[in-house]
């Protein structure tokens, strides 16, 4: 992730105040309380279990743990995961 082109891109988008999630292809994660997480700019599901979902993104593997996790909707740009969410992290 710390390649040369990435740093140049980051600097340009900082200078021009462009939204980073678009220019750098990194995920934008929106958490709604403990019930719902939406991940834009994902790169597919790595593993899907009832209590853990792992999603590949531009900034690493996003792991969501909780209970009764379900994928409410999945399209190329966005995943919405619902259920009781305990933690979210890059692991």
């Amino acid at each position: 992730m710390s390649s040369k082109s990435y740093k140049i891109k980051e600097k340009i988008s900082d200078a021009l105040e462009l939204p980073k999630d678009i220019t750098l292809d990194i995920p934008k994660i929106v958490i709604l309380g403990t019930d719902s997480v939406s991940i834009e700019n994902h790169k597919g599901i790595i593993s899907y279990k009832d209590n853990e979902v792992r999603i590949n993104t531009g900034s690493g593997i996003l792991t969501i743990t909780g209970h009764k996790l379900a994928i409410k909707s999945i399209i190329l740009e966005e995943i919405i995961i619902i259920g009781k969410i305990d933690s979210i992290g890059y692991r």
């Binding site: 599901i45 899907y48 279990k49 994928i71 409410k72 999945i74 399209i75 190329l76």
Partner: protein, 392 residues
């Protein structure tokens, strides 16, 4: 994504169960191939449940082959599948629709006529006349013009004073009021007496037929015999005649009225308080609000909310308006009281005196006391007091 869901519902979707070891790969491939999956739930380690549109379902085949998984449809949802179900049971739905149409058609005719208020007239006569004017069993409800039938019935049947027509459901309620029997006139060839209809002093009596029993200037009491139709002469048998006479007598009328000096007047203050309530099948739904005025004029308006053809649903909005009244105590002078008193006495006495009477004398006496003025009116009139009574 809600719009997409609605779209999918309209196009039809299926709930599927996918079994396979590479379940994540299956989801990813679906996404890449532009297949929309939603409401994905994990059932066990190798199984998921998901929803998919019927169009996308066919595209799954290649993915299934690539991931070695196994698909099973557990439920088909959405409009196209529902329509299919309806198609399979079309006669059932046609029957339901026919039933509703049948009920609607049947309930738009009059099937019963009830008549209230009959006393002397035969019910069949009323029914015949009603059917002639267009109200009979089996007639369409919207062809009935209630006011017109009422008016025509009154013209057709002069023995009726009033006709009211109301339609409730398939029943027509006809309320009639019969005319009171007219006072029986005594024929010229029937013998009769003439008696006094009220107390008075005879001013002038002119006997055309019969024997006069009173003279001018006599004081007579009510029901006293004035002219006898029984003629008794010496040496002749009793003879009965039809008495005829003009009996003019002076009679009196009096009345009392009290006018207090303190008069309370109500005036509108211009403030209006409005409340709204619903009434559903005669059951009132109302918030109990306190009316902020002590004295008020109440006015109610009713609006039927739902109308469906000739049906009026028994749901109405009642708007009640309260207009505030302000009471004012006014002290009036003795002269003013006298004018009011006179006015009221005159209108009151006019109701008592018959129209053809001639007013000879009129006098008002006042008896003032501390709080009010009492006025008494005496009227002396000249009127015909003779009433014919048949001799039996």
């Amino acid at each position: 994504m809600l719009i997409l869901r609605i779209w999918n519902y309209l196009r039809g979707y299926a709930i599927i169960i996918v079994k396979g070891i590479k379940i994540e790969r299956f989801i990813n491939l679906a996404v890449v191939n532009d297949i929309y999956l939603w409401d994905i739930e994990k059932i066990d380690y190798t199984t998921i449940k998901a929803k998919i549109s019927s169009k996308d379902f066919l595209k799954l085949r290649s993915i299934v082959r690539k991931t070695d998984s196994n698909i099973q449809i557990i439920e088909k949802c959405g409009i196209p599948f529902k329509l299919k179900k309806i198609k399979n049971r079309k006669w059932f739905f046609a029957g339901v629709a026919a039933l509703f149409i049948f009920i609607y058609i049947l309930s738009s005719y009059i099937w019963m006529i009830e008549i209230y208020g009959l006393q002397n007239i035969d019910e069949q006569v009323i029914i015949d006349n009603l059917s002639y004017e267009g109200l009979k069993i089996g007639v369409r409800k919207n062809k009935i013009n209630k006011r017109e039938i009422e008016n025509k019935m009154l013209i057709r049947m002069p023995e009726l004073t009033w006709v009211g027509l109301e339609i409730k459901g398939t029943k027509a309620f006809v309320t009639i009021v019969e005319k009171k029997p007219e006072p029986q006139l005594i024929n010229r060839d029937e013998p009769c007496d003439i008696i006094a209809s009220k107390n008075g002093v005879i001013e002038k009596i002119l006997v055309l037929n019969g024997d006069g029993m009173v003279k001018d200037g006599d004081t007579v009491k009510k029901n006293q015999l004035l002219v006898s139709g029984t003629i008794i002469r010496d040496n002749f048998p009793e003879r009965y005649v039809h008495s005829m006479a003009e009996v003019h007598a002076r009679t009196w009328y009096e009345d009392v009225e009290e006018i207090p000096y303190e008069q309370i007047e109500y005036r509108k203050s211009g403030k209006v308080y409005t409340t709204y309530s619903m009434e559903i099948i005669n059951r009132k739904l109302e918030r109990n609000k306190k009316i902020p005025y002590e004295d008020y004029n109440k006015r109610e308006r009713e609006i039927y909310v739902l109308n469906f053809g000739s049906y009026v649903f028994p749901i109405k909005l009642v708007i009640t308006e309260y207009e505030e009244l302000v009471s004012m105590t006014k002290i009036i002078s003795a002269d003013e009281a006298k004018t009011i008193c006179e006015e009221r006495l005159n209108t009151k006495i006019k109701l008592q005196i018959p129209e053809d009477a001639v007013i000879l004398n009129q006098r008002i006496e006042y008896f003032p006391n501390e709080k009010s003025l009492i006025g008494k009116i005496y009227v002396e009139v000249l009127e015909d007091i003779g009433v014919k009574v048949r001799i039996y």
